[in-house]
């Protein structure tokens, strides 16, 4: 359970917010020497294909890109199946999906990778900062709660999706997103605060529960 999985190309530098500069440990030696046989591997990973696709889809915000990411992640998972210890195949596989996504992002949309600490992200997207134009644009783009989630910064979006849609524990999220548990906690709190202030929620759900905070 505590062993972190290998990743085919650990590119921690491309992973924003990863506090440890080295990211995931690169497994040494023989973990990739033998491919597992069909049944074992497919029994381990394929049940989590929906989870993998869901994460990739929310991160990449595009169906085709998400499919490419999952495809790549499956190949990596096959190669590094030897690094899976214990029975937490889902967290292990989602870690690989997330890494595959950041590698994909580095190749295809490098501009979206932001190296910032959480305070800077929070300051950048602070909804109380006066920027009417930006606000109007956001309002026009938001048609559903999904749009509001997609508008969240990547670092917040990933913890929110892992928590609310995959229903993972903070410990599992910390492992998948390669951040300390305290960071999981603060990012989730900020993600929720942003969603609650988003025009989408104000418009429909907000009036029911009071939105002055």
């Amino acid at each position: 359970m505590n062993r972190l999985p290998c990743t085919a190309a650990p590119r921690a530098s491309a992973s924003p917010g990863g506090n440890k500069p080295g990211g995931f440990p690169v497994c040494q030696g023989n973990t990739e020497a033998r491919l597992p046989d069909h049944t074992t591997f497919e029994q381990l990973v394929l049940p989590h294909l929906d989870a993998a696709y869901n994460l990739a889809r929310w991160l990449a915000r595009d169906t085709h890109d998400a499919e490419d990411v999952v495809q790549d992640a499956c190949i990596r998972a096959l190669k590094y199946a030897g690094s899976l210890h214990g029975n937490d195949a889902r967290a292990w596989f989602l870690t690989i999906v997330r890494n595959a996504f950041y590698d994909w992002l580095g190749r295809n949309r490098p501009a979206e990778i932001v190296h910032e600490d959480d305070d800077k992200i929070a300051a950048r997207i602070d909804p109380s900062s006066p920027n009417p134009e930006h606000e109007a644009l956001r309002r026009a783009e938001m048609h559903s709660l999904s749009d509001a989630i997609e508008a969240l910064p990547l670092q917040y979006r990933e913890v929110l999706v892992l928590r609310e849609l995959e229903e993972m524990s903070y410990k599992e999220i910390a492992r998948v997103a390669d951040i300390p548990i305290g960071t999981v906690m603060s990012r989730l709190a900020r993600a929720r605060a942003l969603l609650q202030r988003s025009p989408m929620l104000q418009a429909i759900g907000g009036q029911a529960t009071g939105s002055e905070r």
């Binding site: 491919l35 499919e67 495809q71 096959l78 989630i149 929110l160 906690m185 609650q196 929620l201 905070r213």
Partner: protein
């Protein structure tokens, strides 16, 4: 506990991720503070909305099929270790009788080289098909997109230690659409991409060498045809899902006519 403390913990409290002591204090504070209690209700309402309105995207069935196909392709390109064991057992058996051993060794040498050639051949074809499948799936099929051989050829030459002849066969129904660099048989290789109707043909072009085992002219691997020819000083290996006759004809034409001025 004051409101500021409570609000920092509220999100984790909603997730049941506070310590027992923290949870106890938050609970007590919520009972006493209507503002924070309302914030907690908002948090629960948000969760309810997220779980009903934000879709958990399910993997499309095509993706599942694609993943299975790719896994098979990756496995096919990595021979299982069992094969090595078989070979060493064969050798132990051969060292039985001296004379019989010699005769058998001589025979084994002939058969062995034939088998190794056949395997090298097989591995090369499998590798070529795997690359073709990967390129098709990953949408990374073309690194230099052009039907102009004067664009494709220099692009390839600049990245290789040889200069493959490049020719557009659009007038024969095989337009050149571009090229890329792949890695085949432990060497970088020029890949020319042609199109015929809706099919893609990848052609791996390498310098012809005397030592290399001549691959069989045509093989079919997992539904893909692999056709081979030599000519114009090069070794031509074409992979496509287009029919075998057409692919064989095309690769022979390539080998014959590509080098023409």
């Amino acid at each position: 506990m004051n409101c500021a403390d409570a609000s920092t913990l509220l999100s984790a409290y909603t997730d049941g991720e506070t310590t027992m002591l923290q949870g106890h204090w938050v609970k007590r504070h919520l009972a006493a503070c209507p503002n924070c209690a309302a914030a907690y209700d908002d948090m629960l309402a948000l969760r309810a909305r997220l779980r009903t309105e934000a879709p958990r995207h399910a993997a499309p069935p095509e993706l599942r099929a694609r993943v299975l196909a790719t896994l098979d392709a990756v496995r096919a390109s990595t021979p299982p270790p069992a094969r090595l064991r078989v070979r060493s057992e064969r050798w132990r058996w051969l060292s039985g009788g001296a004379l019989a051993g010699c005769a058998a060794t001589a025979l084994a040498w002939f058969v062995g080289t034939a088998v190794i050639d056949w395997r090298a051949n097989e591995d090369l074809a499998v590798e070529a098909v795997t690359m073709h499948v990967h390129a098709t799936l990953g949408n990374q099929q073309i690194q230099v997109a052009s039907s102009d051989r004067h664009t494709v050829k220099p692009w390839l030459s600049a990245r290789l230690d040889y200069s493959p002849p490049v020719r557009d066969f659009a007038q024969d129904g095989f337009p050149l659409v571009g090229g890329r660099i792949d890695y085949l048989d432990r060497h970088p290789v020029a890949t020319l991409v042609y199109r015929v109707r809706n099919h893609t043909i990848d052609v791996y072009v390498r310098p012809e060498t005397a030592t290399r085992v001549a691959p069989s002219a045509l093989r079919t691997i997992r539904g893909f045809n692999v056709a081979h020819a030599t000519g114009s000083g090069m070794d031509w290996l074409a992979v496509s899902d287009v029919n075998a006759d057409e692919l064989t004809g095309f690769v022979q034409k390539l080998a014959r006519e590509s080098g023409m001025p």
